[in-house]
Each structure stands twice: as structure tokens, then as C-alpha cells.
């Protein structure tokens, strides 16, 4: 396990450096000047030049790159050239908001999807299975922005049960915060549960075909005990990995949900950074997403090990 983690960490470092480098270069290759963005529409070319100098983005790229790598290695992601705020501070705030949505929606999806997926597998090729599989397929096919828009229309505009668009933090007003988080969580959970349900069903089916399950059944164990004792633990592995995958995708991929629900998450920070060419912010966010994605993958692998002793042995 130790060398396994060490190897994963090595890959992590290489991958993060690579991602950082690519983003750094890509940002500087694309047209559009942050200095122009900061100064507003009427800025003269002299002012733009002066601002570039102030920001230090007129220096040779290798110099800027060296500086950035050096400070990133000291875990200093710099300051936003647009807002003047510390990048790491901004990311910290946003990550908590993103994580809140992601964790809640995934917990909700697991609660819905794991039991339903199991049922679908047990009742494979019967009416219940067809119904559940069809539902899952629909959940998979309806885009999040359609679901979100419809939920918003019904609950915020038509019935006015759930207020929308104005973010209230948990510490300021827990009740309002809770009301606020319901719709985005539901929106995300719908797609996620569809994915998890399908994965649960198929991996359960896979396990059920195994010899030891046949043996357990042959021993005369009740179906419930067979499922709980023999198949669930084995079937859950691919599900854990898909959950990890979903979580890391959502981290930077909730742009639309964040926009519809005006949720101040990491994706919107990234997008606004890209649009204003806020180099330090984009570099910082991509770096953090890369790190987190890999951390999540490592966590998934470790969970495998905990759930399945055979993997631990290897």
C-alpha cells in the first residue's frame, strides 16, 4: 500500500506540473490582453502598455513561468491581476461552496441509486428492472440546465416556494441557505443517480453470475443475506469509482448549474478568470482542480483496498 501511494503521489506531481505548464502557455498564446480588460474601453495604447508593465506581463514568458513555478512550489498562487485578491483565498471560498453542492448531491444520489440499482439487478429483465432502467436512462438524457431551468420556473417563479438567485451563507441564515441549496442539489443529483444506478445494476449483475454467489444460494441462504453478505460489497467497487469520477468532473464542470442558480462555486471563478484573462486565477484554479481530481482518484483506490482485501494484497 505504501509504495502504491508513493507511486500515485509521483504521478500526481508530474501530472500537476504538466497541467500547470500547459495552462500557463495556453493562456499566454490566446489573444486578448488582461491589461486592456482592466483599463476599460477608452484606454489608450500607451495606458495599456503602462499597465502591462505594472502587471509584469510584458516580461519574457520564460521569466514569468519561472516566477510562477517558483512561487507555486511554495504553495503561493499569487494575487489576481483583476481583483487584487489572493488567488488561494478566493479558491478556498469557492471550493467550499462547490464541495457543499457536490457532497450533498452525491450523498443524495447514493441514497437513491444504490438501493434502486440493486433492486433492478435482482429483478433483472423483469418489469421493475425495465421501469428503473428507463427512469435512469431518462435521468441520464435530460440535460442539467433543462432540469434546473424547469425546477426554477416551477418552484421559484410559479409557486414561489423556494426563493432563488440570492446567495445566503450557512452562517448568516441556515434556513434560507437550506432552501437555496435544495434545487441545485436536486438538479445535480438527478443526473448523478442515473449514472450510479446504471453502474450499480450492471456491476451487481456481474457479481451475481460469480460462482461463489451460486454457492451461497445453493447453501440455502436467504436472498437478502446473499445480497448483503456476498454481493453488495463486491458490486460496490465500480460504483465507488464512478462516484469519484463524478465528483472530480463536477468540481470544474458545474458551470451551468452555478450560473442558473447563481451559486458562487469554483467553476464560475474559473470561467470569469478565463474571460478576463486573469492569468493567476486560471492557473491557480486549474492546478487545484488537477490536484483534487488526482486526490479523489487516490481516495477511490484506497477505498477499493478497504472494501476488497484482494486489492490490498497486490
Amino acid at each position: 500500500m505504501g509504495t502504491f501511494i508513493a507511486r500515485r503521489l509521483m504521478t500526481l506531481v508530474v501530472q500537476v506540473i504538466l497541467a500547470g505548464t500547459v495552462v500557463f502557455l495556453m493562456l499566454r498564446l490566446v489573444p486578448g490582453d488582461p491589461a486592456r480588460g482592466i483599463l476599460g474601453e477608452t484606454a489608450s495604447e500607451e495606458q495599456v502598455a503602462a499597465m502591462r508593465q505594472n502587471l509584469g506581463i510584458d516580461r519574457p514568458i520564460y521569466e514569468q513561468y519561472g516566477d510562477w513555478i517558483a512561487s507555486a512550489a511554495r504553495l503561493d498562487l499569487g494575487t489576481s491581476i483583476i481583483s487584487g485578491r489572493s488567488v488561494i483565498g478566493d479558491i478556498g471560498d469557492r471550493i467550499m461552496n462547490s464541495m457543499e453542492l457536490i457532497v450533498l448531491s452525491i450523498v443524495l444520489s447514493v441514497i437513491i441509486a444504490v438501493p434502486l440499482g440493486t433492486i433492478a439487478a435482482i429483478r433483472a429483465n423483469r418489469a421493475t428492472d425495465y421501469l428503473l432502467s428507463t427512469l435512469a436512462m431518462i435521468g441520464l438524457s435530460v440535460p442539467g440546465f433543462v432540469v434546473g431551468t424547469l425546477l426554477l420556473l416551477v418552484f421559484a417563479l410559479k409557486w414561489r416556494i423556494l426563493p432563488q438567485s440570492v446567495y445566503v451563507s450557512w452562517s448568516d441564515d441556515p434556513v434560507s441557505h437550506l432552501k437555496l441549496i435544495i434545487l441545485p442539489t436536486l438538479t445535480l443529483a438527478l443526473g448523478n443517480s442515473a449514472v450510479i444506478l446504471r453502474m450499480m445494476r450492471s456491476s451487481m449483475l456481474e457479481v451475481v453470475r460469480q460462482d461463489y454467489v451460486r454457492t451461497a444460494r445453493a447453501k440455502g441462504l436467504s436472498e437478502f443475506r446473499v445480497i448483503r453478505g456476498h454481493t453488495l460489497r463486491n458490486a460496490i467497487n465500480p460504483v465507488v469509482s464512478i462516484i469519484g469520477l463524478e465528483a472530480s468532473t463536477l468540481l470544474g464542470g458545474m458551470v451551468i448549474v452555478e450560473q442558473i442558480f447563481n451559486w458562487p462555486g469554483l467553476s464560475s471563478l474559473l470561467i470569469s478568470g478565463v474571460l478576463s484573462r486573469d492569468y493567476p486565477v486560471v492557473q491557480g484554479v486549474v492546478l487545484i482542480i488537477a490536484v483534487l481530481t488526482i486526490v479523489i482518484n487516490v481516495l477511490v483506490d484506497i477505498t477499493y483496498g478497504l472494501l476488497d482485501p484482494r486489492i490490498r494484497m497486490q
Binding site: 501530472q15 438524457s141 470561467i271
Partner: protein
């Protein structure tokens, strides 16, 4: 997906050493069997029928639509009527015409993009899996890098940089989906490239390109097929998502995504929102169902061809 791929590969390896042409013949019979199976499976023929219908309507849009989709008619926000089947939108344009034209845009963009992605992905994946070594390393590490960025963020960043013409939209979605095809093709190619019959072809001195075309490609065709169907669904999702965010097809050109976005304020005209939403949902549903159906059809374990 990977299970299906691996099984196909194993199947071929088990088939033993044969020359490439007899293998191609074998492929043809397999394809015929697939068609027969498809005809019997509602999970294939229902979505296929639906998609053909939507596709035909989209292609024939200019001759079918009752009105010019960008023309401003009598009045905005008219309810559905016999004149305007789905009413008019906030600019007073016929919704039905826009819906049909939007399909043309959404499907056209997604189809072109995924086709491009498939071609590029197949070339790259084949090369990486067949030649191995430095080529493999360069292609696969780049692929990994691309896969580590969230899809939608990658697409948004690229659209932001390139500008959002329809051409760029196709390009961006293609680039986003190339890595998926590379992965799929690479996996299958690895297995096939080491198979005895490929070795045999090399020994008799066949050129690499010839081997790749006649021996490797037909054997990785099945998973590409499945991936194509699934990617098309996702591509529509990305296209409509970008359009919804205002980064895709630009008004007045209708696309399902920007129609949904534009309809959001109009609570009292739900058909403005529901019609494009339903079109997106049903189209993706059809593609996903088809993808699933194909995968099962190609998975020998599920219909006892083993």
C-alpha cells in the same frame, strides 16, 4: 464499454492466426448478424426510427418550415394556434419553424463534430496502439492531459479564445471528444496488434498501413460505433449547454440550447421552454438507448454467441 472491447479482442485472438482478408469476411457476417439482432431489439429500432425521423426533418427543414425562423411575424408571445402550432416567441417568430431549424443546427453541429472527433481519434488511437513507443507516449499522455480538464470548461475556454462561429463550435466539440475515441481505439488496438494473425501479416511483409486498414480497423469498428452513438448524445448536450450559456449558436440562429435560454423568463408560455427541452431530452435519450442497445448487441455474452 471496456468489457465489450476486451471481449471482442479476446474473441479475435481465439480465432487464431488467419490472414486479414478472411478476417474481413468474418466481420461482414458479424455485421449482418448485428443487423438481424437490431431488427429484433426494440432498444435499437425505436431510437433509430426516431433519429431518422428527426434527422430527415432537420435536413428537410428549409422545405418543411411554415415560416422563416428569423422572420418577425404578427405579435410576440402568441399562444399555440392553428396558424402557429407552438405559438410565437418573444420576438414574434414562429416557434415551430425555429424548433425545426434548431434541430438542424444542434444535430448538424454535433454530428459533424463527433464525425471529426471519430476520424481524428481513430487515426491517433490506431497509431498509438500499433506503433507503441514514443508515438504511444506522446499521443496517450496528451490524451490524458485533455481528459483531466472538465469537458465543459475546456469547451468554454476554447470557444472564448476562438470565437463562437458554428465552424468553431464544431471544432471545439470535436477536440473535446477526440480523447474519448483515442482511448477506445487504443485499447482495442493494443489487443489486436499483438494477435497472431497481425504478427503473421507482418512476417509476410505487409505494409503497416495495409495491416492497420485491413486487420486492425475492422476489429475495432464495433466499439467505435458504440462510442459514436454515445458521444453524439453528449455532443448535443455540450452544444446545447454552450448555446444556453450564450457561447454556442448565436441568435437569431436558433438552436435548442439558446431557445431554452431565451424562453426562461416567460412563465406563462411554458411551450417555449418545454418544446426545445423535450427535443433535446428525447434525442439524447434515443442516442443513449441506441448506444446501450448496440453495446449489448455486440457483447457476445448477452446473446449467447460464445
Amino acid at each position: 464499454m471496456d468489457t465489450a472491447t476486451a471481449t471482442t479482442g479476446a474473441n479475435q485472438t481465439a480465432a487464431g492466426s488467419r490472414d486479414a482478408s478472411s478476417l474481413a469476411r468474418r466481420e461482414t457476417t458479424r455485421f449482418r448478424r448485428l443487423l438481424t439482432f437490431a431488427g429484433r431489439s426494440p432498444r435499437i429500432w425505436i431510437p433509430v426510427t426516431f433519429l431518422i425521423l428527426v434527422g430527415a426533418v432537420s435536413i428537410g427543414a428549409p422545405w418543411i418550415v411554415p415560416y422563416d425562423p428569423t422572420q418577425l411575424l404578427d405579435a410576440p408571445l402568441l399562444p399555440p394556434s392553428s396558424t402557429y402550432w407552438l405559438g410565437t416567441d418573444d420576438f414574434g417568430r414562429d416557434m415551430m419553424s425555429r424548433l425545426i431549424y434548431a434541430g438542424r443546427v444542434s444535430l448538424g453541429v454535433s454530428f459533424s463534430a463527433v464525425t471529426l472527433a471519430a476520424i481524428a481519434g481513430v487515426l491517433l488511437g490506431l497509431s498509438a496502439g500499433y506503433f507503441r513507443g514514443a508515438v504511444d507516449f506522446a499521443i496517450m499522455r496528451t490524451t490524458d492531459l485533455f481528459l483531466s480538464f472538465p469537458t465543459i470548461v475546456l469547451a468554454i475556454a476554447m470557444v472564448a479564445f476562438l470565437g463562437n462561429s458554428i465552424r468553431n463550435l464544431i471544432l471545439v466539440i470535436a477536440v473535446v471528444y477526440i480523447p474519448r475515441f483515442v482511448r477506445v481505439v487504443y485499447g482495442s488496438t493494443l489487443t489486436i496488434a499483438n494477435a497472431e494473425f497481425v504478427e503473421a501479416a507482418r512476417v509476410v511483409g505487409a505494409r503497416d498501413f495495409y495491416i492497420m486498414r485491413t486487420a486492425v480497423l475492422p476489429n475495432v469498428a464495433a466499439p467505435i460505433f458504440v462510442q459514436f452513438s454515445l458521444s453524439l448524445g453528449f455532443a448535443i448536450l455540450v452544444e446545447s449547454g454552450l448555446s444556453f450559456l450564450g457561447l454556442g449558436a448565436q441568435p437569431p440562429t436558433p438552436s435548442w440550447g439558446n431557445m431554452i435560454s431565451a424562453a426562461r423568463p416567460f412563465v406563462d408560455q411554458p411551450q417555449l421552454l418545454l418544446a426545445p427541452s423535450a427535443m433535446i431530452a428525447f434525442t439524447i435519450l434515443a442516442l443513449n438507448t441506441l448506444g446501450d442497445g448496440l453495446r449489448d448487441a455486440l457483447d457476445p455474452r448477452l446473446h449467447g454467441s460464445r
